[in-house]
Subunit: 200 residues, 2 copies
């Protein structure tokens, strides 16, 4: 009936703008890839779409930065109305998580797989998640502090006194690391189980 005009993807773009603002669509895509992904991935087409929608809603403003020999940078910043929208989103209950992990589906229906195929998929999963864990551990030291433009070069450690104003990024990174560790230990256990049982 009364469809709301915004969704998690909308607020994730808006939140990035509020935190690291002003940013272009291209900057936002990089932030998604380096920080929100795989928490909440987004194709660049979707980011541009949300920016256009939020501009219509009056949540963001756009300023054109002219460049020679390259398309102009359209730099977006959050408005007061956008900040209000972020805050009232925070007052609403969050939708409940669904994992939607294809690897888990494949294990669940493992009786219809060849043993080698399953093992290969588990090994790929291990490689993927080991890589993620490493990235989280390395990148957690190079999260730009609030308001600091990501292209400026200067970077702070969110765990040191310099940016104690905002502990939330650190909390998220901690979750991501714990999640990857849990997932990985299950993957290793499952792999060992399969390798030890040749009669599957």
């Amino acid at each position: 009936m009364d469809r709301s005009e915004a969704y998690p993807i909308t607020y994730s773009v808006l939140g990035l703008l509020a935190f690291w603002g002003p940013l272009s669509g291209y900057d936002l895509k990089r932030l998604f890839d380096h920080m929100l992904s795989p928490m909440w991935g987004a194709a660049h087409s979707q980011i541009y779409h949300e920016l256009r929608r939020m501009k219509d809603l009056g949540w963001v403003e756009m300023e054109r930065e002219e460049q020679e020999s390259r398309p102009d940078r359209k730099v977006y910043s959050i408005t007061q109305s956008g900040r209000d929208a972020l805050t009232s989103w925070q007052a609403k209950p969050a939708s409940v998580l669904q994992l939607r992990d294809e690897l888990l589906l494949k294990v669940m229906f493992g009786s219809f797989a060849s043993r080698d195929d399953l093992i290969e998929n588990l090994k790929k999963g291990i490689a993927d998640h080991e890589m993620r864990l490493l990235n989280y551990r390395q990148n957690s030291q190079y999260i730009p502090a609030r308001g600091e433009h990501i292209q400026e070069g200067r970077r702070r450690n969110p765990y040191t006194s310099e940016s104690q104003e905002d502990p939330f990024m650190g909390l998220i990174v901690r979750f991501a690391i714990e999640f990857e560790k849990t997932y990985l230990s299950w993957l290793y256990e499952t792999l060992t189980f399969l390798e030890e049982n040749e009669t599957l």
Copy 2:
């Protein structure tokens, strides 16, 4: 270019059909809710859609069971072609997980929330995930064994000798429990952190 005709949701319906034999769309919806959800949720409209698509592909067959005073049951069973499709899906690499959890987003952008709103959302998350953990622990004892019709009443414990043929369901339940435990302990930690710091 060469779009494949099937997706994780397709194979999750197909896998359920392969495992628990002839089922109606209604049966499948219940299985999704009790077993796959929240691993891979599905609305009933989507399940009916996938059944129609797979019938066109020749992966499933439909038999009409006439009923008095109720709409006929359309009971679907997997074909050999469907079983082949399941197996060749298992040979392909799985897509990589994205969490897409709105609660994590809200914590990430917690600096734009009132402290009370964040705490309330965390508490709701704790209630949600405690409930899930409980469900996993209880339902893990009542998973119907392979080929056993869910309406027949007889139920087996997948951890006992009776259904040792298929250990995969048990592996999935174990993952789900470990995941919920990890998530919950992070939620409790985060809540404590917020409650102890009144200057946010």
